[in-house]
């Protein structure tokens, strides 16, 4: 039986640690802060303030597969003659802040479902523009176990 010396055992341990800490090169695309998100939201609203509320965003708080997270949007309780013009969904950490932009109208119900990709656990923001020119927002925190977008 060949004894593993204390020195080589430590060396193996250090090597294993290095392997764990090295991230794939593609992870560079994941954004560190939400500056680009705020910029994208500003571009969407034209600098107007979005009031929290009115829009309801339904996304599971724990997403097991970031490649496909079900997203449900609804703007209930609109007054007569008021309709939703646009809904923009923005993420915080994907390579690009825009997620999906929906153009609705007076003949469409403000209820839409789709599936999105999430590269990391993050906050999702949805902003609705109503026909009266006001903006309303909703946010949701999502924990992602398997990340999407950047890994092969």
């Amino acid at each position: 039986m060949t004894a593993v010396s204390r020195r080589s055992a430590l060396g193996i341990g250090a090597g294993a640690l290095a392997l764990v800490t090295v991230k794939p090169a593609a992870a560079q695309f994941v954004r560190k802060d939400g500056a680009a998100t705020l910029e994208a939201i500003r571009a969407f609203t034209g600098g107007k303030e979005a009031a929290p509320g009115k829009i309801v965003m339904d996304i599971p708080p724990l997403v097991e597969n970031g490649n496909s997270a079900p997203l449900k949007l609804d703007v209930p309780g609109l007054g007569d003659g008021v309709f939703v013009r646009r809904i923009g969904v923005f993420n915080e950490k994907n390579p690009l802040p825009e997620t999906v932009t929906l153009h609705l109208g007076p003949r469409t119900a403000p209820r839409v479902q789709t599936r999105i990709r999430l590269a990391d656990s993050q906050t999702i923001t949805a902003i609705a523009e109503l026909s009266d020119g006001t903006f309303h927002s909703a946010t949701a925190d999502v924990i992602v176990t398997l990340a999407a977008c950047v890994e092969g």
Binding site: P24, N67, E98, H103, A109, V112, Q113, R115
Partner: protein, 106 residues
């Protein structure tokens, strides 16, 4: 031709909301993923979806790489008149596909 699934009611009452569900097979390559050779694969996504019904585009969606592969979209539009509903997907590398469903409004 990509495989597209459209679920829409064949008949509807005037004024009633109809739910339209669409799914199209597409890789939606983000342009951020490395391929087998380690190089980043070029972006290949569907960028736009539009639903035209009764002389008007009633629903439009701008898609980004953050949309899942095989984009799924479900929306509701008001039944107004009998006629065709045209669903069009457009994307990178000249991708374009149109599906038509006939809707009868009673």
């Amino acid at each position: 031709m990509a495989r597209a699934l459209v679920n829409a009611p064949k008949t509807a009452k005037a004024g009633e909301m109809m739910e339209i569900k669409t799914l199209i097979s597409h890789v939606m390559e983000t342009g951020f993923r490395p391929g087998m050779d380690g190089r980043i694969k070029p972006r290949d996504i569907i960028t736009e979806f539009a639903c035209e019904y009764d002389g008007e585009v009633v629903f439009r969606a701008a898609l980004h790489p953050a949309t899942s592969a095989n984009p799924y979209l479900a929306f509701e539009t008001r039944a107004t008149r009998s006629g065709p509903m045209k669903l069009t997907w457009r994307g990178d590398n000249g991708f374009e596909q149109t599906e038509t469903v006939d809707i009868t409004v009673e």
